[in-house]
């Protein structure tokens, strides 16, 4: 496995950015948090280059999520962000989409796992490892989320 250089890291980041950014927006319902988290993850990668480029999207997603949750003012920040997201045109577009409506029914933790699984294509094992969860927890969360989306989706339809 070739070692990742700084140039290679920048190239891989550019390639992964669209998918990871969209996954983060869908998970957090906040594009500013998504972008800030990705920027932090990029800098983290510059400081400590990943050992290889396997599952780079998963690495970026995990680190960005962790960065968005860090900080003394996390709770206040998330509250403000959630209120602000209602005015965000990108989020409004997302919420008008079918998947957006369904994701809005889930908690952020459920969205994080479901998006990683169905959009980033991570296996339940990879999600469990990346997010520090048990595989059974990931599996149960996916099942519960799907059930809820199915139930609520049918009601809305």
């Amino acid at each position: 496995m070739p070692e990742i250089t700084v140039e290679r890291w920048q190239e891989l980041y550019e390639r992964a950015f669209p998918q990871v950014y969209r996954a983060l927006v869908a998970a957090t319902l906040d594009r500013d948090r998504a972008l800030d988290g990705l920027h932090d993850a990029f800098e983290e990668g510059m400081r400590h280059l990943p050992s290889d480029d396997r599952n780079l999207e998963g690495w970026l997603y995990r680190v960005a999520l962790r960065k968005t949750r860090r900080g003394l003012f996390r709770t206040a920040r998330e509250t403000v962000m959630t209120e602000r997201s209602a005015d965000d045109p990108v989020i409004r577009v997302l919420q008008r989409l079918e998947i957006g409506e369904l994701l809005a029914l889930l908690s952020e933790r459920q969205r994080t796992i479901v998006v990683a699984h169905y959009y980033l294509g991570l296996s339940q094992e990879e999600i469990a490892k990346a997010l520090g969860l048990r595989r059974g927890t990931v599996s149960a969360t996916v099942s519960q989320s799907l059930a809820r989306m199915r139930r609520e989706g049918a009601e809305h339809a």
Binding site: Q10, A23, D40, F42, V90, V93, L97, E98, I99
Partner: protein
């Protein structure tokens, strides 16, 4: 609601791929603009760091200067030796085994032995300041636990606080005082033990250079370098360093010293419990090296 995995994946991809991306120039983090507060804080931190380094350098500098003022450069090849000022009179000729010193003027490197009642005590867990008194005379000792040969009793402070009489004997090698306890006698490799009786005198027994008088046409040329386990003096004789071993031999015999051996450039002489070595030194004056407490020839 689709219920097959491929349909769910298609739905996610179809819809989430519609999320608008930010402009490409925002994909990577820009240099974040630093707030006035953050910038000021950074400058204050930098200034604080520089100030701390300067203060530390000044403290170290003053410490070295104080040390240098107490000890001039030693001619000894052994850097651990501390040199005493040269006495104004002729070199010591009295064969007394040891002199008695006031602790406050004891030579650095000398062994301090003291015994007295505890009249003061302070400790921060890493070191203690122990004051021993005898009559009207008190001396404070700075004892750092990590330099202890044997851990001192843990209840010295408790007994002092409860005003219980206790006699403590300390023994150790004196080193320069620390800036924070400049008046305390600071010891290394020390022991501090509680004793039931002791002669409550405060004394220091330096490894004084004694017991041998040079022939009349020879002279000591530098201050002695004293330490607790050996002492050195440079001397000068007619014939220089090459003939030093032979030149001193008659004087040694005359003063009751017994020749142990003579090696290349060295002569070993023994008397009582002291070994003296005459030693040639390349490009310098010869040395007399004294090893007190040596009971046999090498």
């Amino acid at each position: 609601m689709p219920d097959r995995r491929s349909e769910i994946v298609d739905l996610f991809v179809r819809d989430l791929d519609k999320i608008e991306l930010p402009p490409h120039d925002r994909w990577r983090p820009a240099h974040r603009k630093e707030s006035y507060f953050a910038k000021t804080s950074r400058y204050v931190l930098y200034a604080g760091g520089v100030t701390a380094v300067l203060i530390a350098a000044l403290i170290v500098g003053f410490g070295l200067r104080d040390r240098n003022s107490q000890a001039t450069a030693s001619p000894s090849p052994t850097p651990a030796f501390i040199t005493l000022p040269l006495p104004a009179s002729s070199p010591p000729a009295t064969p007394s085994p040891a002199a008695t010193w006031s602790l406050s003027t004891a030579p650095l490197g000398a062994i301090a032995v003291a015994c007295g009642s505890v009249t003061g005590y302070a400790s921060d867990g890493a070191q203690m300041l122990l004051t021993l008194g005898s009559g009207s005379m008190t001396t404070q000792y700075h004892l750092e636990y990590h330099f202890a040969s044997v851990r001192p009793p843990a209840d010295i402070g408790d007994r002092f606080a409860s005003k219980t009489d206790q006699l403590v004997q300390v023994y150790g090698r004196q080193v320069p005082a620390s800036p924070g306890s400049a008046n305390a006698v600071r010891l290394r490799d020390f022991t501090a033990t509680r004793v039931t009786t002791c002669s409550p005198t405060l004394s220091v027994a330096p490894a004084a250079f004694t017991g041998f008088v040079l022939p009349p046409d020879c002279a000591y040329v530098r201050p002695p370098a004293l330490a607790f386990d050996q002492s050195e003096r440079s001397f000068d004789c007619p014939g220089g360093t090459l003939l030093a071993v032979e030149t001193l031999a008659p004087a040694f015999r005359q003063q009751g010293w017994i020749s142990c051996a003579t090696g290349p450039g060295r002569g070993y002489w023994k008397k009582d419990a002291t070994l003296l070595v005459v030693q040639q030194v390349a490009n310098d004056r010869p040395l007399l090296v004294q090893y007190p407490g040596t009971t046999s020839c090498p």
